[in-house]
């Protein structure tokens, strides 16, 4: 009997070890590109382009970052303008997408109306169209409307891109909030509107926040549409700004990586901040066990 137990214990330990090793391998593969970008932003182009790759950096410097912020003409790019554009466009489109997503998601979760499932399916189908396929028609329409190279144009495009997704996600979270709660709130003296803001909204909050993160990251990282619909520092976003590092015959890989790092940092920070609020199981205890 003792041997049997010992062998099972050993088996369990080995399994645990294998899990850890597998996880480490997976994480390495996932994190490698990110780390490589950070590393590449700090080393000279010769080292970046070396074949076979130089795994151990010989010299590290912040030259690329210094150059980036040192203004046009000195190897720099208008990074602050790009950053501002990215921020305005991403935040505005996210706020709008979340507002529409909340209204739509709530309607889908709570109300019965004609053509509901058809409408929902239609929204989902729009996700199957690759955004880049729309870039040319969109370009023509925008050109006619004169909203190429404006914040407004890009915000519109991103809202359209994000809304089906936010509706779908937020619908799911409102479904998890028991209907009884809103009814109890109404009996407790709330109007329909108060019941929503006092009870249903706080409970679906974490879900809405995660929909927000997704929408923000989509807008923040989007390149294909932005490269078509922006022209100048008026509206160019950071991903499009990366192209500033390509010249006719050369590509400044180090500078590009440095800008990529600058792009990643706010997205990463935001995700960390919001992630804390993504407490799951907040509704547990509302009804039954």
């Amino acid at each position: 009997m003792r041997d049997e137990n010992a062998s099972h214990r050993l088996k369990r330990r080995l399994l645990k070890l294998a899990h850890a090793a597998g996880l480490f391998a997976a994480m390495t593969i996932i994190c490698m590109p990110g780390l490589w970008i950070v590393l590449s932003s700090l080393r000279p182009t010769v080292e970046i382009m070396a074949k076979p790759p130089a795994w151990i950096p010989q010299e590290l410097s912040l030259d690329a970052y210094v150059a980036m912020f040192s203004g046009v003409g000195k190897g720099g790019i208008p990074v602050l303008e790009y950053f501002r554009n990215s921020l305005i466009i991403s935040v505005t489109s996210t706020v709008v997408a979340i507002a529409v997503g909340m209204a739509g998601g709530y309607a889908f979760a709570r109300y019965r109306f004609r053509g509901k499932s058809g409408l929902f399916l239609g929204l989902m189908l729009t996700r199957t169209v690759p955004g880049i396929a729309l870039s040319l028609p969109l370009f023509f329409v925008y050109a006619r409307l004169g909203i190429i190279d404006t914040h407004f144009g890009l915000i519109m495009a991103y809202v359209a891109l994000n809304v089906p997704f936010t509706i779908w996600l937020i619908d799911g979270f409102f479904r998890q909030v028991p209907k009884d709660l809103a009814e109890a709130a109404q009996i407790d003296g709330c109007t329909r509107w108060q019941a929503f803001w006092q009870v249903e909204f706080p409970l679906a909050g974490p879900g809405i926040a995660s929909a927000g993160i997704f929408a923000f990251l989509t807008s923040w990282n989007e390149f294909a549409l932005a490269s078509q619909l922006t022209r100048s520092v008026n509206s160019k976003t950071l991903p499009v700004g990366l192209l500033d590092y390509t010249a006719e015959f050369t590509i400044d890989w180090r500078g590009m990586c440095a800008l990529a790092v600058v792009m990643i940092i706010p997205a990463l920070t935001l995700t960390f901040i919001v992630q804390k609020h993504l407490v799951s199981g907040l509704t547990s205890g509302a009804v039954k066990g």
């Binding site: 009814e183 009996i187 407790d188 006092q198 409970l203 009804v287 039954k288």
Partner: protein
């Protein structure tokens, strides 16, 4: 405190009618139980009173005021849900004080009333907890506390005990009864559990398929059920019900057995009439093991084989075969019995019920 009146109340979903024009008057401070099988329209009726469902026709009055189109918040009611519906993001204190906060009551007043309700329900030590940290029984009490704090005209309960285990249910039943004695308000209580209805209510409303079958005190619905359905629904174990034909002063059953026609029904039936005979397990007992009620002349004896027994300690339920069916009887001072034993059974016909086989209504005069 207030009366509640339902006048020809109808609920339709699209073309499907769920509640068919029911009338009911609930007196001030009365405890009314709406009881019936699932799908009988009792919860829908309660939700219409609460204002959570629109009414399709008829009228609802609370305290003499027609509330047909008023939203729930304007009806001055409170409701305890089957699921409790506590706000999970608020503490017990906030849950209980929520309605007062919405009504912009001063903080001190909220504090006072929450504490008062907490004291009544013994919730003082739980006020800072969240619903997820409470047991089922505690959540139930918080839900009731939230209802009390509002000091409503009418309390509505929607199957409040059905998520609790049997022991806790009995305990909470007693608490609800005590609570009603203390706060003295009108209560409409929906349940599918006839025991709950019997133990709690001043009057019971038995519903089926969107109609009211009978309204009466627990004693009335138990002793004088108006319909075959009520007879079968109220009482545990349920009443024995068998179809029979009136034939020459006797009731003849399908397989040829017969019983004397109970005296109290003789003027009300005609020869050849199809009826349903009903006898409660308490009125059918192994001879010498029952509560001997009524005239001895009304007790009919028969020797029957035992099919199965269910010992409950202080009594045993004996299923005995009569006319091809198992009839349940209650044996007091039980003695051991085996399947197949033949025992003398007493049918106390003075307590029997007869219903029309056609309409299901009682044939009592």
């Amino acid at each position: 405190m207030a009366t509640v009146s339902l006048k020809k109340l109808v609920k339709r979903y699209d073309n499907l009618e769920i509640v068919h024009g029911i009338d009911l008057d609930v007196a001030d401070r009365e405890f009314i139980a709406l009881v019936g099988p699932s799908g009988c329209g009792k919860s829908t009726t309660l939700r219409m009173i609460a204002g959570l469902e629109d009414i399709s026709d008829g009228a609802i009055e609370i305290g003499g005021r027609t509330v047909n189109d008023l939203p729930p918040r304007a009806r001055n009611i409170s409701m305890v849900f089957q699921s409790y519906a506590l706000y999970p993001h608020m503490t017990v204190r906030e849950n209980m004080g929520f309605s007062l906060k919405i009504a912009n009551e001063p903080k001190a007043e909220i504090e006072r009333r929450v504490n008062e309700a907490a004291a009544i329900l013994d919730l003082n030590h739980l006020l800072e907890r969240r619903p997820s940290q409470l047991s089922g029984g505690q959540r139930q009490r918080v839900a009731m506390g939230r209802a009390i704090v509002r000091q409503p005209d009418v309390f509505l309960f929607d199957e409040p005990l059905s998520n609790l285990d049997a022991k806790l249910r009995t305990q909470m039943r007693t608490e609800i009864k005590k609570l009603h004695a203390k706060v003295q308000s009108t209560v409409i209580y929906v349940t599918h559990d006839q025991v709950e209805a019997m133990t709690l209510a001043d009057r019971i409303v038995i519903m089926r398929d969107g109609h009211i079958e009978q309204v009466g005190t627990p004693d009335e619905v138990f002793r004088r059920p108006a319909t075959r359905f009520v007879a079968g629904f109220i009482g545990s174990p349920p009443m024995n019900l068998q179809e029979a034909t009136v034939d020459d002063g006797k009731l003849r059953f399908a397989n040829g057995s017969s019983l004397p026609l109970p005296r109290q029904f003789q003027p009300n039936v005609a020869a050849g009439q199809k009826v349903v005979f009903g006898l409660r397990p308490d009125d059918l007992y192994p001879t010498g093991h029952g509560i001997n009620s009524g005239d001895d002349a009304d007790v009919h004896g028969a020797e029957l084989p035992v099919s199965i027994t269910e010992p409950l300690g202080n009594e045993t339920l004996v299923f005995a075969e009569f006319d091809g069916h198992d009839w349940v009887s209650r044996m007091l001072n039980p003695k051991p019995l085996k399947t197949g034993d033949r025992i003398g059974m007493s049918f106390d016909l003075s307590q029997a019920h007869l219903f029309s086989a056609e309409t299901g209504r009682t044939l009592r005069g």
